[in-house]
Subunit: 304 residues, 2 copies
DNA sequence: TATGGTTATGAACCCAATTCATAATTTCTT
DNA sequence: AAGAAATTATGAATTGGGTTCATAACCATA
C-alpha cells in the first residue's frame, strides 16, 4: 500500500507546505496528490496533513512518515551509489561552468557533499568567463553548465532545476524605499551593481531596462557579499535572487523590492551532453542539487 | 524506477534461491519476476542474479539491494507500528490457539519479537485441547487459530501461511530404513508416536492410514523432542513437519522418509474473525510470521 | 534423446494511478 | 460583506506500466 511515491509526496508536502506546490515539486497534478493523500489517510485511519490557514502542516503521523521518507530515500540513493561503483560508472569528471554567480551559495556545500559521495569523480569549477558555455560542453572543456539557457540543441540536454525571483536590493534609506514595486523607470538614475559579466547576461538589463531604453550606470563586484556591501553603503542598487537575501533583509542590512508587477523571474537549468546525462553520478548530482535547493532556498518554484 | 516491489522480490529471490519459488513467495507469476529482474538489470546496467546450476545466486549488486530491502522494509514496518500507536489501534488482545504442536518451534521466538513491538497487546497462548477452535473465535475466547482448517465460513478469514511436508521419522536402524518412500502398508506393524490429540487431527492417520484401513498402535508425547527421543530409541515411528527435522537428521539421530509418492503435505492457516483481520497488530503478526517462517524454515511453500 | 522443470520473451490485458473537468472551500481584496 | 482569486476535493475518464498468458528457449537428469 505505502509506496515510495507516497514518501516523495510527503517530503514535498513538508518542504512546500502546500498541496499544489508539492504537486509541482514532484511533477504531478494537484489532483493526483490529493488522491494520494486521501488514500494514505484512509489506509492508516489517520490524517497526515492539517490545514493551518494559508499553508498546511503535517500531523504527527505525517511527520513520522516524513522521517521515514528521509531515511528510506537516502538509503536508496546510497545503495545506488554503491551499484554505480560496482558497475564502474562511479568515475569520470564533473567540470562545472557556473553562469549564475549567486549560485555559489548553494553550489559550494553541494560540491562538498558530492565529493564525499563520489570520491573518484574529478570535480571542478571551470573558472573564467565563457561567451558560449554550451559550446564548452561539445568541445569537451566542461561537463555541465548551470545557467538559464535552454534552447533545444541536438546532443544537449537541459535539466530543469528551478525558477526563482530576482529582487531589487536597496539600502534601507534609499529614496525608492517607499515603492512596493520598482519599474524600469526607477532605475534611470541609479548605479546598478552587478557581477562582472556582459550586459546580456544580466536579466534585469536584458529583460527590463533595455526594452525600456534605460541604461543605468554600472559598477561591478565579484562576490555577492561585496555587492550587498556596496548596496548597503548606498553606492547603488543590485538585482539578486530572492533566496540569498533573506538574512540580509531580516537584519535590515538592505531592503528588497519586486521588479515589475509580476516580478522578474529567471529559470535555472543544468545542461549536459546527452551522453553524460545518463551517468549515475550526474543523475545523483542533479537530484542532490534539486533536493538541497528546494530544502534550503526560499521562494523557488519547480520547473517542468 | 526502483520500487518497493523490487525490494520485496529481491528478498524473496534471496530466500528461495529460485525465480519461480520467489514468484510464489510474493504472489506473482514467474513471468512477472522475470520482467522485474530484467528491468532492474537494464536500469542499473548490472546483473542482480546469476545462475548457479539448479538454483540462482545473487550478484554483488543483488546483495546490496537485498541489504537495502532489509533495512527499508523493516523501517517501514516500524513507522507503521508507530502510526498504529498514534491511531490508538496498538492495543487489544492476541490469544493464540495452536493446533499444530510442532509450530511452537517458530511461534515462540515470534511471540518474543511481537511482545517487544506491541507492548500494549495482550499476548497469550490458549492452552488445552479444543474440539472446534474456530468456534472459540466466535465465542470470543481466542483471537487467532493456527491450524489447517480453511473451509469458508462467514465472519471468519483464513490467512494462508504456508504448505509443508510431513515426513516419516524413523530410527536410523529401523527395518524400513531401506525404503526411500513409505506407503500406508508400511505402517501396519509399527507404533505411531504422536502428540496427544484425537486421530482426526493427525494428517497421517486421516489422509493416509484410515483410507487404507490401517490402524497402527499409538503412543503419545507432549513435546517434539520427546517424540524424537522415542523414535530414536526405537519405540516407534512419527510423522513430523520436515522443517523441524533437519538438525536431527544431519546428526544421524533419526532418519526421515517421504510418505507416498507425492509426499504428505499439510497447509497452515491463521484464522481470525473478519473484524480482527484489519487490526494493525494482527496484520503485523501475520507478516512477521510469514517472514520469519520463510526465512528460517526449510522446504516450506507459499500458499495462495 | 527424450523429459520434467525452470527461465526468458513478446503480446495482450487489466488495473490503478494520473489527469481532466468541475465543484467546493478558503483566503484575499476592495 | 461580497466578490475575486487561489487552493483543495471529488468523480469520471484515460492511460501507461506491470502483470498475466502463451510459448519458446534453456538446462539438468534419466
Amino acid at each position: 500500500m505505502l509506496e515510495l511515491r507516497h514518501l516523495r509526496t510527503l517530503t514535498a508536502l513538508h518542504e512546500t507546505g502546500s498541496v499544489s506546490r508539492a504537486a509541482k515539486r514532484v511533477h504531478l497534478t494537484q489532483s493526483a496528490l490529493s488522491h494520494q493523500i486521501k488514500a494514505l489517510q484512509s489506509h492508516y485511519g489517520l490524517p497526515v496533513i492539517q490545514r493551518r490557514g494559508q499553508s498546511i502542516e503535517l500531523t504527527e503521523a505525517g511527520k513520522h512518515l516524513v522521517a521515514l521518507a528521509g531515511k528510506v530515500l537516502e538509503e536508496i540513493r546510497e545503495t545506488e551509489r554503491d551499484l554505480a561503483k560496482i558497475s564502474q560508472q562511479a568515475s569520470g569528471s564533473l567540470r562545472i561552468v557556473l553562469e549564475c554567480h549567486t549560485c555559489f551559495d548553494w553550489l559550494m556545500p553541494l560540491m562538498d557533499e558530492f565529493r564525499q559521495h563520489w570520491p573518484d569523480v574529478e570535480l571542478d569549477l571551470v573558472s573564467g568567463f565563457h561567451a558560449d558555455p554550451v559550446k564548452l560542453l561539445e568541445e569537451g572543456g566542461a561537463d555541465i553548465v548551470i545557467g538559464s539557457e535552454h534552447k533545444r540543441q541536438r546532443g544537449i540536454v537541459h535539466h530543469p532545476l528551478f525558477r526563482f525571483e530576482i529582487l531589487a536590493v536597496l539600502a534601507p534609506e534609499h529614496p525608492l524605499r517607499g515603492k512596493r514595486i520598482l519599474h524600469a523607470s526607477d532605475f534611470a538614475d541609479v548605479t546598478l551593481i552587478t557581477y562582472p559579466v556582459p550586459e546580456d547576461r544580466i536579466d534585469l538589463i536584458l529583460n527590463v531596462l533595455k526594452p525600456a531604453g534605460i541604461q543605468p550606470q554600472r559598477r561591478t563586484a565579484e562576490l555577492t557579499v561585496a555587492i550587498l556591501q556596496l548596496v548597503a553603503s548606498r553606492r547603488g542598487v543590485a538585482a539578486l535572487p530572492s533566496w540569498g537575501l533573506k538574512n540580509y533583509v531580516d537584519h535590515d542590512y538592505v531592503i528588497a523590492r519586486r521588479i515589475g508587477a509580476n516580478g522578474l523571474w529567471s529559470d535555472l537549468y543544468a545542461s549536459t551532453l546527452k551522453e553524460t546525462a545518463s551517468r549515475p553520478y550526474l543523475r545523483d548530482f542533479l537530484t542532490t542539487a534539486r533536493n538541497t535547493c528546494f530544502a534550503t532556498l526560499d521562494g523557488i518554484i519547480p520547473l517542468a
